[in-house]
Amino acid sequence: MKQSFTILVISLLFLLLQNSSFSQKNAETFAISGKVVDEKTKEILIGASITFPEIKKTVRSNAIGNYYIKVPKGNYNVKVSYSGYTKAVFPVQVTKAETFILEIVEKVSELEEVEVTTELLDKNISDVKMGLTKLNIKTLKKLPAFMGEVDVIRSIMLLPGVTTVGEGATGFNVRGGGIDQNLVLMDEAPIFNSSHLMGLFSVFNPDAVKDLSLYRGGVPAQYGGRASSVLDIKLKDANAKKFGIQGGIGIVASRLIIEAPIIKDKLSFFVAGRGSFSDFLFNYSPNKNIRDTKANFYDVTTKIEAKISEKDRLFFTGYRGKDIFKLASDSLAVSEINSSSTIFDWQTTSGTLKYNHFFNKSFSANLSAVSSLYEANIINPEGSNAFKLNSGILYNSLKMDFFLEFPNNRIDFGAAAIKYTISPGSLNPTAKEPEINGVYLRKENGIELAGFINDEIELGKNITLMAGLRYSYFQANGPAEVAQYQGNNPSDSILITGYKTYNKGERIANFGGLEPRIALRVGLNENTSIKLSYNKMRQYIQIISNTTAALPTARWKISDVYTKPQISDQISLGIFKNLKNNTYEFSGEVYYKTIENITDYKDGANLLLLKTPENSIVQGTGEAYGAEIMVKKSTGFFTGWASYTYSQILLTMNRDSTQTINNGIAYPANFNKPHSLNLVTSFQLDKRNNISFNYTFSEGRPITYPVDKYFVGGIYVPNYINRNQNKIPNYSRVDFAFTIEPDEKSKKRWKSSWAFNVYNLLSKRNAYSIFFKTKNNNIVQFYNRANTYRLSVFGSAIPSITYNFKF
């Protein structure tokens, strides 16, 4: 299979190279380069399209805002378009190589030109990448928002190929991948838990976000370390020309962002803060335990940009977000915990320092240093059983990126070094005279090194190839004590024969290999293209969890002697077609993916504070396949998209006879929802008013139903046999949003806007889960009926209102 695929690629390459030699026939061409920037703020616009209609050539500004094109001598009317901006035409006379800074004006809701994405109008057919969706924050702000909070993660759930275990679950699943298989980057810093309030909101402050790119397949070689997807979130530029304040007041959280120049045109910053006051909402609950509950979060995002010279820039991004839950003791009465209250918290602290240097028009480099720390705690604050149970993961990296830009060829190459330090958990007694013993699991250390090159070549007018290669190497290092097992079988702690001690820095295990990333685009005509991609990705850290959706406190684990790295291979094929002058976009993709060493927990496994987690997990293979179809309308009074996804992910856990799940027979993963449909619609009523609806349907997630029940020790117990063989009912929901934009013509400095949202407009009582209870009254219960219940978390429509202001 793989071999024949390679042959196919090589022969296609040949074909294309020949083809391209024919197309290189124009004699005198000149290199035109420059930037596309916002006229007012001078903010660099990434992914703007620059069209030379006279020669039917279009380029787009790259990741650092530059464009570069070779055109023959002549007069051109250069068209520039970018989502949220007025289309502009620049008359240009080309007689020599020249630089043009193209300034375009931000649009204030022009009726006919409301766009859904930042993408170039024909980007979906002209770009070699597939499985990629870009959304900018302007689009997100028009989507109906849950409880008024514009949310990055909730928005991507509306895209094809993205699912979740359930509303309120942490993270998201892409094309059959687990939540730990998504590389979530915020200005290059990985975010290990993207959720506030468990999973109801995400940690990204919408005021600070500029745009997001989600790669479901065809991941370029500069990204690595995760097996399924990349969600790359870019924060807005800190290049304010004057002092400004923006903010918003919502029912869950309130926001404020301040931006200002420190030295004009040289040094600017922004600080965005967000805090919840949901305690106030708890007070209205009819349940006393809930009224005594406290739940809050905050986050602060900051960015500083220094323009050292025309060729050198320095950026710093800082983020800190924290969630705290405090629960009253009564709520824990069932849990045998002898405590008066419990605190549960988690926090992310990250920083990115990036240095950007332009050697010349076509060569630039980035050097970035990233540190990201995720910590989660469970705290019992009082009494002799007081404790603090903490765990975390620290990521430090250095990355060097080079960009070479030629008209028909763009090369990225570089290298990265990452150090992981995982604290799997320690139980610290905090009482003066503790009645519990401390448990301190050793930190896990690992180093990942990677080198990559990615070349995007236009092999001809209609053919583009992205050939990328990444090599990654991982080494788990001491200090550590690794359990040794009888017959090298780690299935049970009973088989432990001893522990092998490794000193600091000593190698415990190492892994590595090539990760080819190849994509090919063949344009059939101006409006249609076919794309093919293959990629291999290696993942050296993973979450091990025994719950349906991983907890914020779920344990991260590096690859070591018994836990092998996850390796995914994905091949996808797609057709992309635009109709009616790019007004309608159509895309259809199919994919097939295998994941080696995917991890799942054994029945009844407990992973908390476990010194040898290898006893409780099994690694096996995952097989995922599916089809994604999307139709999108990007301009006009009505905009929106419809997407349908068919997907399957089956896990086979059958390492050997002692290490199986579901008796070694393939079973669907917890988040396997084969059919899903999303409809997103937006109506621009006039310059200020916008109405939008969205509809979501998905098949119910898999669940294990009991087969029978039995009576033991005075209790009726449901008996479950095979994992995930049943399904909860299907899910559907309609949301509504009405936004009123500020009057841009108004002379007042204070500008305000409103957003009204209704989540679950039709009050649909969707099942969040089905669970089984057996009554246990103090009576003889042979004849007692066991009951099945449905839990719906959003039992009714949830309206919300948000007030936003700008000063």
Binding site: V165, G166, G168, A169, L197, M198, F282, K288, F325, L327, S331, V334, S335, E336, I337, N338, G383, S384, E435, I436, N437, T547, T548, L551, D603, G604, N670, P706, V707, D708, K709, Y710, F711, G714, I715, Y716, V717, P718, N719, Y720, I721, Y768, S769, I770, F771, N777, N778, Q781, Y783, N784, R785, A786, T788, Y789, R790, L791, S792, V793, F794, I798
Partner: protein, 352 residues
């Protein structure tokens, strides 16, 4: 200390609050009819007789009661070669006559059904019982605004000292003895709605309420050699000034038994949240020795038990007990006898 359940509870509650969620009944259409053997037996260091109950599992959604298997022979043997074939009391209940559990010995249960099916438990040891240090009560008043009746409840706690050996597992339980005045209650539908008439007891009568469905477990995993502090045993409403009589048991159980009950506890307390550990098959300690695919449910438990009688004094300075419900019509003239049985006794419980 059970941090897992803590986690689960914390999160379920939070998620459920946030969303104003609701739980309703659901028909999952479960209609399987596979009957499996269920064995529920126990041996302790306390004097017998010890009982073993055989049943069959029943379809999950049904009210049907699957009759016990017929033609069964139940044998308990120990590691010294002593065996006893239990007496069949009918309805799947088997009882020992001679066997006395001894601390430190291991016991095996064998069940033969017909000629072909032989089931055996793994050997279970009777561990040394660990003494109960102290039992005490705390009065917890209901806070204002709760939808429960006025008053409060008495929470009973236990303290003990975990020995310095690793791997001690506990299960706590109680039996509640209530002296009752009325031995018979007859309900009938009168013209103005249902009425109940209660008949007084002819003699002193005690109601025996085993704490069915109580699973209080402990492990010294994080507390080896320390004090087991304020272990919750049960709660009793302040609806009378009569004391509550309890027979409190602290069982030293095997590791297998601890994890068996821990999983059951986790599954029957599932709140339906996605942060719950999904339910899965719970393997007991009894196997079909010839056919590994024949699943057997239940557990044969051996444990060392410490027992303490305890009296919950229900008096709080300045607070009157809240009387629950409606007082039914009481017939003082006719009396009803106290019938000796599993849940009633004429004999004053030992220790009081």
């Amino acid at each position: 200390m059970n941090i897992n359940i803590l986690k689960k509870t914390v999160i379920s509650i939070t998620v459920i609050w946030l969303l104003g969620s609701c739980v309703d009944s659901f028909d999952a259409g479960l209609n399987t009819n596979i009957k499996k053997l269920v064995v529920d037996g126990e041996i302790t260091n306390k004097p017998g007789p010890y009982r073993v109950t055989l049943q069959q599992s029943s379809p999950f959604g049904s009210k049907d009661f699957s009759p016990p298997p017929f033609n069964a022979i139940v044998i308990i043997s120990d590691n010294l070669g002593n065996t006893e074939t239990l007496t069949d009391l009918g309805f799947g209940v088997f009882e020992t006559k001679a066997t006395q559990g001894v601390i430190g010995r291991t016991y095996t249960l064998e069940v033969r059904i017909g000629d072909k099916k032989i089931y055996k438990s793994t050997p279970q040891i009777i561990k040394k019982p660990i003494p109960i240090d102290k039992i005490y009560t705390e009065y917890i008043p209901f806070k204002e605004g709760s939808n429960v009746y006025i008053g409060g409840e008495f929470h009973v706690f236990l303290d003990a000292i975990d020995p310095s050996t690793n791997g001690d597992y506990y299960r706590w339980n109680y039996t509640n003895f209530d002296q009752i005045d009325y031995c018979l209650k007859i309900r009938s539908n009168g013209d103005s709605g249902p009425i109940a008439i209660q008949y007084r007891c002819c003699e002193t009568c005690w109601e025996v309420n085993p704490c069915l469905g109580c699973i209080y477990l402990g492990s010294d995993q994080y507390q080896n050699g320390k004090k087991i502090n304020k272990q919750f045993i049960g709660k009793f409403p302040y609806n009378s000034i009569l004391p509550v009589f309890l027979q409190i048991e602290q069982k030293s159980i095997t590791k297998d038994n601890y994890f068996y009950w821990k999983e059951i506890d986790s599954q029957i307390n599932n709140s339906g949240g996605i942060f719950d550990t999904p339910p899965a098959n719970i393997q007991g300690n009894i196997y079909n020795i010839t056919d590994p695919n024949d699943q057997v449910l239940g557990f044969f438990t051996a444990s060392g038990v410490s027992t303490i009688p305890y009296r919950v004094i229900r008096r709080v300075e300045g607070i009157q007990p809240a009387i629950l419900g409606v007082i039914d019509f009481r017939n003082q003239a006719t009396c009803s006898p106290c019938v000796e049985g599993l849940y009633r006794t004429r004999n004053k419980p030992a220790g009081f």
